[in-house]
């Protein structure tokens, strides 16, 4: 049960925001009961609010100050921008992915296989689709809270690219949606905690190679092509474009990619929950 502890001390952080977010918009119907349950679980964990703020703070400060000294300026779309702005948008996307993946994999596996939370839920009028939608809605509430904190820190340190950075908020939630959906779907196929090594194996290269820390142009052509197809790159490119106010049709493409990814993940999760819990 050590992973349960890891879960508790990990990203299980609530936000007062969660109390006032209309979950109906996100989950709707009975799915909101799942959100309600999660709020009940986390309502006393105020300490996580603090850590939710400090994590991006440390991240941005260390990489911002450290690497900025070495790099200085990066060229994006023909414009020279400070490295801090460049990397902050990338880190926002990566942080949204990390948070979503952690919750959707460890959190869902714990409830699905270890403490059997869904067995209890599915013996009530709740159905598998309600559970999947509710968990996703909860992930978005939390993802939104993390992203909000991140953006505030970013702005406070003067790392935002332009006033358009405000639009990064919904976009970061979209990144959470995509990775939560996909993570949840993947989790339903996991048999034991060992399988989580595969998650790290997938997440780490995404984190490092998705043009998070340097522009895509440094890669050879073939690698650029591969990176362009991977999911975190969509988030990084989308958030960076929005943050700098560099709008293009490709941003729409990134958005659609993430939307489809999350929706597919949600559909697969609901189906798999039904197979696993209601055999």
């Amino acid at each position: 049960m050590k992973l349960a502890t890891a879960l508790d001390s990990g990203r299980g952080r609530p936000f007062p925001l969660a109390r006032i977010t209309p979950s109906t918009l996100l989950g709707g119907g009975r799915a909101r009961r799942v959100v309600e349950r999660n709020i009940l679980v986390y309502r006393r964990g105020w300490i996580f609010i603090v850590s939710g703020f400090f994590e991006p703070f440390f991240y941005l400060l260390s990489i911002g100050i450290g690497l900025n000294k070495l790099v200085g300026v990066v060229e994006v779309g023909g414009r020279a921008i400070p490295y801090t702005s460049f990397v902050a948008a990338g880190l926002l996307a990566a942080s949204a992915m990390n948070g979503a993946i952690f919750d959707a994999t460890f959190g869902i596996f714990f409830k699905l296989k270890i403490v059997k939370t869904y067995d209890a839920m599915l013996s009530t009028p709740l159905g598998p689709a309600d559970v999947a939608r509710g968990e996703l809605a909860w992930a978005l509430i939390r993802g939104g809270a993390y992203a909000g904190a991140f953006l505030v820190v970013m702005a406070g340190l003067g790392y935002v690219g332009s006033g358009w950075a405000v639009v990064c908020f919904p976009a970061a939630v979209l990144v959470s949606f995509a990775f939560s959906g996909a993570g949840m779907a993947a989790t339903t196929y996991m048999r034991s905690w060992q399988d989580f090594d595969l998650v790290s194996l997938a997440v780490l290269p995404l984190f490092l190679f998705s043009a998070t820390f340097y522009p895509l142009g440094v890669y050879p052509g073939w690698l650029q092509l591969i990176v362009r197809l991977t999911p975190l790159y969509q988030g990084v490119a989308l958030l960076r474009g929005l943050d700098l106010g560099l709008f293009s049709w490709s941003l729409l493409g990134h958005g659609v990619y993430l939307l489809v990814m999350g929706a597919l993940g949600l559909a697969v999760s609901a189906r798999r929950l039904s197979v696993l819990v209601l055999p």
């Binding site: 009975r30 013996s123 209601l278 055999p279």
Partner: protein
């Protein structure tokens, strides 16, 4: 339908259901019960398969309002699979099943809204307190918080958990967890309470407390569906039961009628010396029937003391003798040639 085995077609089945006016209940339920036409649960030729494994192999049964109905059988007999189908938590592979007049495949959520399920493994929410477990479970049924709080108070009382209301679930004893699970299942005031192995793994004291609580529910007219592999539990709690073995129903009736039909009034139980052979021959003629188990010999007779006398006269070397009345265990042994708990 054609697949449907035994139970309904068994000679004992009809007289059993006819002779089972569900015990007591001075509640609203009794008014409805006088119109005993439509069963709450009705299964015909019910089959459950998992791949090539047949867990439930074509069973028929009817469960009526206000009665306490049992599925008695050893582990692996198909009881839990049957319960899960009734609770709309497992799709029916073949045959028909109607629960509360509805089809689980179509109206699963509506049926579950009116059922209280106490699963074999407690699925309590370990991340919440005792009280919050009741509250959130009620919320899954869309019951207003105010109403749940009111009910939770009574239910905690009923489950003798009032002083543990704000404790987490994990430190509770097995019996407490079980009682909380029952309280949780009652928070929606269900028409039907399904209990899958309610006392398995509990110590005798905890079992008796739990039985007492189930008695009270029974007296209030709550319809109970219970699976168990304990014959004493079935005898204590069930108005009517089916004996299950290998996915089939071997017999149906009241505990009393089953014992009467399939066993003798008394049983003489002899603990035999290790490695003894030829027991049946040596005891021939003393009882109506002799069953030889690994360590014991059971002599079925209407007069146990007389049989014991006869055994003594033959100088049969037993280590310990016991005369007792027949139980459902004996019925099961007779029907299947196996013990309930191996």
């Amino acid at each position: 339908m054609r697949l449907g085995v035994q139970a309904a077609s068994q000679p004992g089945a009809q007289d059993a259901s006819a002779g089972t006016p569900p015990a007591v209940a001075p509640s609203a339920a009794s008014a409805q019960r006088s119109v005993r036409s439509e069963p709450l649960i009705c299964a015909r030729g019910l089959v459950k398969r998992f791949g090539s494994i047949v867990a439930v192999d074509g069973i028929d049964f009817d469960i009526y309002l206000g009665e306490s109905f049992g599925f008695l059988g050893p582990n692996g007999a198909g009881k839990t699979s049957t319960m899960r189908m009734i609770a709309c938590m497992s799709p029916v592979s073949e045959g028909t099943l109607r629960v509360l007049g509805m089809d689980p495949a179509v109206d699963g959520a509506k049926i579950r809204a009116r059922i209280g399920l106490v699963p074999q493994e407690d699925s309590l929410d370990l991340e919440l307190t005792v009280l919050d477990n009741l509250i959130i479970y009620g919320r899954y049924f869309d019951i207003p918080r105010r109403v749940i709080r009111e009910r939770a108070k009574r239910l905690l009382d009923f489950a003798e958990l009032t002083d543990r209301a704000h404790s987490k679930v994990d430190p509770l004893s097995g019996g407490m967890k079980r009682r909380l699970t029952i309280a949780r299942a009652l928070v929606s005031e269900p028409d039907l309470l399904i209990l899958d192995e309610p006392t398995t793994g509990l110590d005798p004291q905890a079992r008796h407390l739990l039985w007492d609580r189930l008695y009270r529910l029974k007296a209030q007219g709550v319809t109970l569906v219970i699976t168990t592999h304990y014959m004493d539990e079935a005898e204590q709690l069930c108005d009517r039961l089916v004996v299950m073995n290998d996915g089939r129903i071997a017999a149906e009736g009241t505990p009393h009628s089953l014992i009467e039909r399939y066993s003798t009034k008394e049983v003489l139980e002899l603990r035999k010396p290790l490695g003894m052979t030829g027991v049946a021959e040596r005891l021939a003629g003393i009882a109506d029937r002799v069953e030889e188990l690994a360590d014991r010999v059971l002599l079925y007779t209407d007069d146990g003391d007389a049989a014991l006398e006869a055994v003594r006269l033959r100088e049969f070397p037993y280590e310990h003798a016991l005369v007792r009345r027949s139980t459902l265990e004996d019925v099961f042994l007779r029907l299947t040639g196996r013990s309930l708990i191996d």
